[in-house]
Structure formats: C-alpha cells, structure tokens
C-alpha cells in the first residue's frame, strides 16, 4: 500500500504495528505524495466526507426521537421540532445537510468532468463514485418520505410508480415495494430501515473510493501523470490537510447560513401538511438536486421510455471513461471540449430549472431540447471530439510551465535537459 517502509519509533508502537499495521496506514495517509498544483475544486472530497459524517451523526440522534409509523411519524417530527432539546437544530442540519451534500457532490462530479479525472487509470474510482451518487439519491428520497407530509407521500407514490413502467412484472414489483396496494405504513417502516442502512453502505464505498484513489494518486489541474514522490508533489499532511480545512470552513459558512437563516427555503411548504392519500398537491416537485432528471422524465411523452431516459441519463455517466475518446485529461488543453463542457453545465442547469416548472408549453419544449442535447453530449460529441479535436501541447511536469512560464512542449523539453 505504502511506497515506503514505516517503522514506529516506540517499542509498543512497533509491537502493535507488527500485529495490526494501523500506524503504517496512518503514515501512508499523512505522507501521501499529492500533486502540488491541486486547486480548491479538489477540496470537495474532504467536504463530502464531512457531509457524510454530519448526516450520520445528526441522523442517529434524530432516530432516537422519530417514530416510523404512518399515524405518528408526522407528529413525531413536530415533536422533534418543538419539544426535543435542540431538536430543531439537529433536524435543520440534517435536512439542509442533504442539500449541502448534493451541492458538494455536483461540484465534485463537474470537477471530474472538467479535468478528466474519470479517465484511465481512474475508471474504477469514477464508477464507485457513480454508485455512491446513486445510493445518495436513494437515501435522500427515502429520507424525504419519513416526515410523512404531503410531498413525502406523493413523492413516494410517484417515484415508486416509476417501477410500474416495467412490462409484465412492473405492477408486482410496485406492490412488493409498498407492502400493500398503496404507499402506507409498511412502506414507511421499510424506507426508514433502508434510509438508516444506506449511509453505512456509502461509508464503505467511500473507503473503496479512497483506496482506489491511492493506487494511481490524485489527478491534477494539468491532467498529466505525476511521479510520486517528486518535486511535483507535496505530502498530504500538512499541505493538503490545511487547504482542505480552510475550504471546509468556507463551506460550513454557507451551510450555517441555510441552517440558521433560511432553513426551509430548499424544502416545500406542502410537506408541513400531513400525508393525505385522497388529495394530491397541485404541483409535485422533487427536491432541487433531482430536478434535472425529473425534467428528463417528463420530457418524454411515453411512460416506459420516460423512465428509461431518466435512468440512462444517470447510468450513461458510468460509461463516460469509454465514451470520451480523448487521451488528454484536462480541459485546459482541450479548447473545444472546454466550450462543450460549459454548454453541458448550462444544459444541466436549464434542465433543473424546467424540472421545477409545470410540464407544458415552452417549458416542455425547452426540456425536450435540453434532454436531447444532454444525450448528444455524451453519445456523439464526446466520442467524436476525442478523435477530431486539435489539443494544445501538454507540459512534461507540473513544475515546468510554472518555472519556465510556458506550456510549450519544445521549451519544456529544452528546460528539462538544461536542468539535467
């Protein structure tokens, strides 16, 4: 695992480490050679770990007061808000924490897209990341059901009904998911169980994600392979630790702003009305982080094809390392890709916006165009671009363009030889 042998200085440390090499692991993590040009977009891995731990700790404490029963869930949440000591704080941190978690994960994913972090040899890291993202969506959806408000109930009804689009077995699967003939108490209790389980699955996958990361090491803004350790790297501690901590503090300011100043702005007022199976709210919308996919679902007029399009929009990401045919990782050296990247960002934001609007008229038209473009980006533009694009010359090392003041290959080579 480590590139160097580590020997604890104390006698007990050596005795312990020979039996369980935890100290070797700690040494590997602190000394880990990290590219020295990592910018602040690279701090979101640490921020995401913080989000996960925050959700687990606040979730654990909420579970001490929450009652997973259709007749009592709604009131138990109000009980947490009004009676439990600091219950309001813990619940607002948990609810807004989900949004902050997704905010961070989207930045993390789009950072990968910009700098080509998903490319060889980091495909497994990327795919584990996509699985984590899918589990996050499942956890967030089930968590949103637990307060048993109107949006909880009807969100659960709409999302579980997506499975009814499957030919032949669809209806049976939906009944099985519900444990009845509609969303009801059996659905609530199983969602609570799974909502409790998933964060720990994510935690396990995060360990694999980081393990897989530590095999090739971090990608970096220049996107070239870095020899480690070398003059292009710095030890993880203290250099990256302090940078991550600073970014985390900035992030926590945003987090705290939502929790203390506008704790309900990311939710829906309808969810403070208790679930009623006889009345559907006039306008059902998922939480903001699922809106782009919701827009894709609604833009297809056929039920089954709509569900397939929505799932494909997520799963297509797993195939990204093979859809992007360019060998150059960083968009810094891909002038055309850089433009298409920003068009994709705009496309996803537009999808998110129309996902929140009623599916009619101009909104529907925009949603359809944006959906078509989304798939066009991954299925046509990326494969073709990798073959056609004229990329800029990449430097030989991270240090070179900084010291030499140019990214030009020939000058870089000359410098390299003159240093030797």
């Amino acid at each position: 695992m480590s590139d160097h042998e580590y020997t604890p200085s104390s006698k007990f440390g050596k005795w312990f480490n020979d039996r369980l090499p935890l100290l070797s692991l700690a040494s590997h993590l602190t000394d880990y050679p990290t590219p020295k040009n990592l910018n602040y977009w690279w701090t979101f891995g640490g921020i995401l770990t913080f989000c996960l731990i925050t959700q687990i700790v606040t979730g654990l404490t909420l579970a001490m007061h929450y009652i997973a029963h259709a007749d009592m869930a709604f009131e138990s949440v109000e009980h947490i808000m009004r009676d439990v000591n600091y219950g309001w704080l813990i619940r607002y941190i948990h609810a807004n924490g989900a949004s902050m978690f997704f905010l961070a994960v989207y930045i993390h994913i789009f950072r990968s897209l910009f700098y080509g972090s998903y490319k060889s040899p980091r495909e497994i890291i990327w795919i584990i990341g996509i699985i984590i993202y899918l589990l996050m969506m499942a956890a967030a959806f089930m968590g949103y059901v637990l307060p048993w408000g109107q949006m909880s109930f009807w969100g659960a009804t709409v999302i579980t009904n997506l499975f009814s689009a499957i030919p032949l077995v669809g209806e049976g699967i939906v009944t099985w998911l519900w444990g009845g003939y509609s969303v009801d108490n059996p659905t609530l209790t199983r969602f609570f169980t799974l909502h409790y389980l998933i964060p720990f699955l994510i935690l396990g996958l995060v360990v694999l994600h980081i393990w897989a990361l530590h095999v090739p090491g971090n990608n970096n803004p220049v996107g070239i392979d870095v020899k480690k350790p070398s003059k292009d790297t710095v030890p993880f501690h203290p250099y990256i630790v302090i940078k991550d901590t600073f970014a985390l503090l900035m992030f926590m300011i945003v987090f705290a702003f939502f929790v203390f100043y506008t704790p309900n702005i990311l939710g829906h007022a309808d969810n403070y009305i208790e679930a009623n199976p006889l009345v559907t709210p006039a306008h059902i919308v998922p939480e903001w982080y699922l809106l782009p996919f919701y827009a894709i679902l609604r833009s297809v007029p056929d039920k089954l094809l709509g569900v397939i399009a929505m799932l494909s929009a997520i799963l297509i990401l797993a195939a990204l390392p093979w859809l992007d045919t360019s060998k150059i990782r960083s968009a810094v050296f891909r002038p055309l890709y850089k433009q298409f990247y920003w068009i994709l960002v705009a496309d996803v934001l537009i999808l998110g916006y129309v996902g929140a609007m009623p599916a009619e008229g101009l909104y529907l038209l925009v949603a359809r165009v944006a959906t078509a473009y989304y798939f066009l980006h991954f299925l046509v533009i990326l494969p073709v671009l990798g073959l056609k694009e004229k990329t800029l010359p990449i430097p030989l090392s991270i240090t070179e363009p900084i010291l030499g003041g140019t990214a030009n290959l020939a000058t870089a080579r000359n410098k390299e030889s003159s240093i030797k």
């Binding site: 009904n161 003939y181 509609s182 006039a282 599916a359």
Partner: protein
Amino acid sequence: MSEKKTNRRDFLFTATYAVGAVGVGATVWPMIDQMNPDASVKALASTEVDVSSVNRGKTITVLWRGKPVFIRRRTEDEIADARSVKLEDLKDPEKDEDRAKNPEWLVMLGVCTHLGCVPLNDKGDYNGWFCPCHGSHYDTSGRIRKGPAPTNMEVPKYEFVNANTIKIG
C-alpha cells in the same frame, strides 16, 4: 472437451453447487416475500359504500385498499359524450359500455395510470379528470385522451348489493 472424462469429482462439485443454490434460494425467499402485502393488508380487500346521497353530476371519493375510488353519478350529457367517442380516437380503446355497466354510475380507481397521483374532478380538456402532476387528461368515462398516462383509469371489481349500495372488491 469431448476427451475429458466426467469423473466423480465433477459430479460432486455440480451436486454441491446445485444443493447450495437451492439452499440459498430457500433462505433468501422469505426475506424477499416478507415485503409483499401481509395478511392484515389483504384482509381489507372489500368496502361497501352507500351512494343514496350522491346527486347527478357529483362525484364521491372513497378509500379502498389505501387508494381513492371515484364514484360518479353521471349526467345524460356526460353519458352521451362518453358513448359517442370513436374507438379509434382513443389511446387505450375501451367502450364506455364496458366501463360503466350501469351508465349512470362510473366507478373507478382515482389513480392516474402515469405515476399514481389523484386526478382532479371536472377538469381538463375533455370535461372529465385532469392529473395535476404531469398533465394527463381523462374523459367523462375516465379514459386517457391526452398526456403521458398509458392507460385508462382502472375499473375495479364492484357490484350493486342493492339500489343504494356498491360493494368494491
């Protein structure tokens, strides 16, 4: 492959895998099946509804198996409307005569066949029902006319116990 003789060990491996697979299947199935509707949920399978107070042109909504059921006493206009539609204009062709045995009474699950929302009464382009979630329009027979829903609203099994009482389920 053909010259490789099947020996005792191959037989033992195959037999072990087969028994193992059956054992795992038999253990896993109860874990999966426990999520299906339980006996208490299944026991609530039928409901009797008194419809004597429902006037013409009015709809009542009752709960059956946790789902809303629309019971509408239709006006002559609505019946005529529903019966005059040509079958080839329908996305899910079904005669109104087959959906409402007694033309005055339309009984159906008030569940949009798209993603399960409850459609609104007396709304939409066909004077029947309109689903606010994703914009499906249903006619006065509860048949899908426009929007993403694939099929008509489902007619459950029901019967008139007497002139004033409908038994659903």
